[in-house]
């Protein structure tokens, strides 16, 4: 029981640090991509479409949003794993 608790205290800190580094990296990459792409919009044609900007934005943010979502899913799995571990440990201690 004690062993489980010690492991529990250490693991989330590591995951938390990893999560923060990854999040900052993603945000930095995201900001760079957006800035570069907004400054250099690529080929231009002359017709009006209010949806084009929405379409382009999604392409611009795709990598960052996708990465953040993957990270969130990963974090959810980790926290669910530890929550289950704690509840199982508590149940077995009863």
């Amino acid at each position: 029981m004690l062993g489980c608790l010690v492991t529990l205290k250490k693991e989330p800190k590591m995951v938390h640090a990893y999560r923060q580094i990854a999040a900052y990296t993603v945000i930095f990459l995201f900001a760079s991509i957006v800035l570069v792409l907004l400054i250099y919009p690529g080929r231009a044609y002359a017709y009006l479409d209010p949806g084009t900007g929405s379409y382009v934005l999604q392409l611009l943010i795709a990598s960052a949003i996708g990465a953040l979502f993957a990270l969130k899913m990963f974090w959810k799995r980790v926290s669910t794993f530890f929550k289950n571990l704690v509840s199982r440990t508590l149940d077995s201690d009863k």
Partner: protein, 465 residues
């Protein structure tokens, strides 16, 4: 096949090439065009339709064998279950719009798991039916195209995210912008109105501020719309980011003009309860099929009707009162009460193409029975509406009965209204009130409310007695 008797396209659905709504013999139908056939087939065959209907997210329908108005392009005709009352986003309180947004995203997430996606995200596709926000446009789905961004992203941001952010972070009354901009609030406008702090939230910075910049930048440019390898992770990421963003937006109703009205009136609790008892007796007498409570505040008296399973719409001008009313409905799981924001002195007009896409308030009636409790003095004195015009209005808004409270000049509420203005209302007297309303109604019951100077009337519309 049933022969055509009365065909009428419903003006709200002309834009979609997939199909359209039409009315026949007082029932609503939807013609599905051949162009949408494959998508409809997948909606049904994948089990998505069944799943969404069972979860209470999508209006149920049945396929019928009548001929639609344009049989040359028809694939099928369906009859959706009727929605008790059609309401619009500019009539919803904050939490109603938020719940509508979250329902839309839930539908999208379920659709993705069945290989489909929402191709439009108009807030008008959501209606409140039996206490829940549901999608009423069965033709909103398309087969998910791997590698392509979400086609309804712009519409979701304009119809839901922008108004909710404005209501939450700036002023709750800004949902009235939806009344002007039928395709949602332009993002550049939302971006300019939102406080600086909104830029510090990653999701709002991306989906509103950056989105607005991108729209402006690419307004007159084209991009090649080939397969952009927009992965499903990115697709789901955008839905998740929007959902997180919506969930984080909150609004707390402060004490407003009407929020604490019941505590500040000159009612004693016994006269308040007597009024409720009288109202209950009147409703038993008339047994209405539908009720509109005009000036309902937080819906205390509306519940006398809705608790009897009468479909009841509870209108009030105050967004805080409507918010409290709605939250109570959600908390108690009330199915027969729909709270809505409405300024009776300037009710919702017909908007959109030819002023016909969204119906004006009066065209969505009449209600069987209308309640006008502690309302007349506000309309007659605060808004200077003469009694004969008031009577004519109530004659239009109800089809059978009117339960109306007369509040005399000596009542403290009227005295409060008159304290800051000259008394230019010599006709505001009980006899004149009865005379004006007698043109349109029989005064069936007249009951004084104990412990007050007020009178509660049950009036039956002439021609219905």
């Amino acid at each position: 096949m049933i022969s055509d008797r009365k065909n009428e396209d419903v003006p709200a659905s002309f834009r979609d090439p997939s199909g359209f709504i039409f009315c026949r013999d007082n029932a609503l139908y939807r013609q599905i065009n051949q162009i949408y056939g494959e998508d409809y087939k997948q909606l049904i065959d994948s089990g998505l339709y069944k799943h969404l209907v069972e979860e209470g997210f999508l209006v149920a329908h049945e396929e019928v064998s009548i001929q639609g108005p344009r049989p040359e392009v028809a694939y099928k005709v369906i009859r959706p279950d009727p929605v008790p009352f059609i309401s619009y986003p500019y009539e919803w309180c904050f939490s109603q719009l938020k719940d509508a947004a979250l329902a839309t995203l839930s539908v999208q997430k379920i659709a993705l798991s069945s290989g489909m996606s929402l191709k439009d995200c108009s807030a008008y596709n959501i209606q409140f039916s039996y206490g829940r926000p549901i999608l009423i446009d069965t033709l909103s789905f398309e087969r998910y195209k791997e590698g392509m961004p979400w086609v309804a992203y712009r519409q979701f941001c304009q119809h839901f995210l922008a108004p909710l952010a404005l209501m939450s972070m700036k002023d709750v009354r800004l949902n009235q912008l939806s009344r002007i901009y039928i395709d949602g609030i332009p993002l550049d406008l939302a971006s300019s109105l939102l406080p600086f702090g909104s830029r510090l939230r990653f999701s709002l910075f991306t989906h509103i501020h950056l989105h607005a910049r991108s729209q402006k930048r690419y307004a007159d440019r084209a991009v090649e719309r080939g397969n952009r390898n927009f992965g499903s992770l990115a697709f789901r990421g955008i839905i998740d980011s929007l959902e997180t963003s919506i969930r984080r937006l909150t609004w707390q109703p402060e004490k407003t003009e009407w929020g604490s009205y019941y505590n500040e009136t000159n009612y004693t609790s016994s006269s308040f309860m007597h009024k409720r008892e009288l109202l209950g007796n009147f409703l038993t007498h008339t047994n209405p099929t539908t009720v509109w409570d005009l000036g309902a505040n937080t819906g205390f008296f509306s519940r006398v009707a809705s608790d009897r399973s009468i479909p009841t719409v509870s209108f009030d001008i105050d967004p805080a009162a409507v918010e409290k009313n709605y939250l109570q409905c959600v908390k108690n799981g009330e199915k027969h009460l729909l709270p809505l924001c409405l300024d009776l002195t300037n009710p919702s007009p017909g908007i959109g193409w030819a002023n016909e896409e969204r119906h004006p308030f009066l065209n969505r009636g009449p209600a069987d029975t209308v309640l006008a409790l502690a309302l007349v003095h506000h309309l007659a004195i605060s808004n200077n509406v003469p009694l004969d015009r008031l009577a004519a209005f109530f004659g239009k808004v109800c089809s059978r009965a009117l339960i109306i409270e007369f509040v005399p000049k000596k009542d403290s509420q009227v005295q409060r209204l008159l304290s800051t203005r000259d008394d230019i209302f010599p006709d505001y007297q009980q006899e004149a009130f009865e005379r004006a309303f007698s043109h349109y109604f029989y005064l069936e019951k007249t009951e004084p409310i104990s412990g007050s100077e007020r009178t509660l009337y049950l009036m039956v519309k002439r021609g219905n007695a």
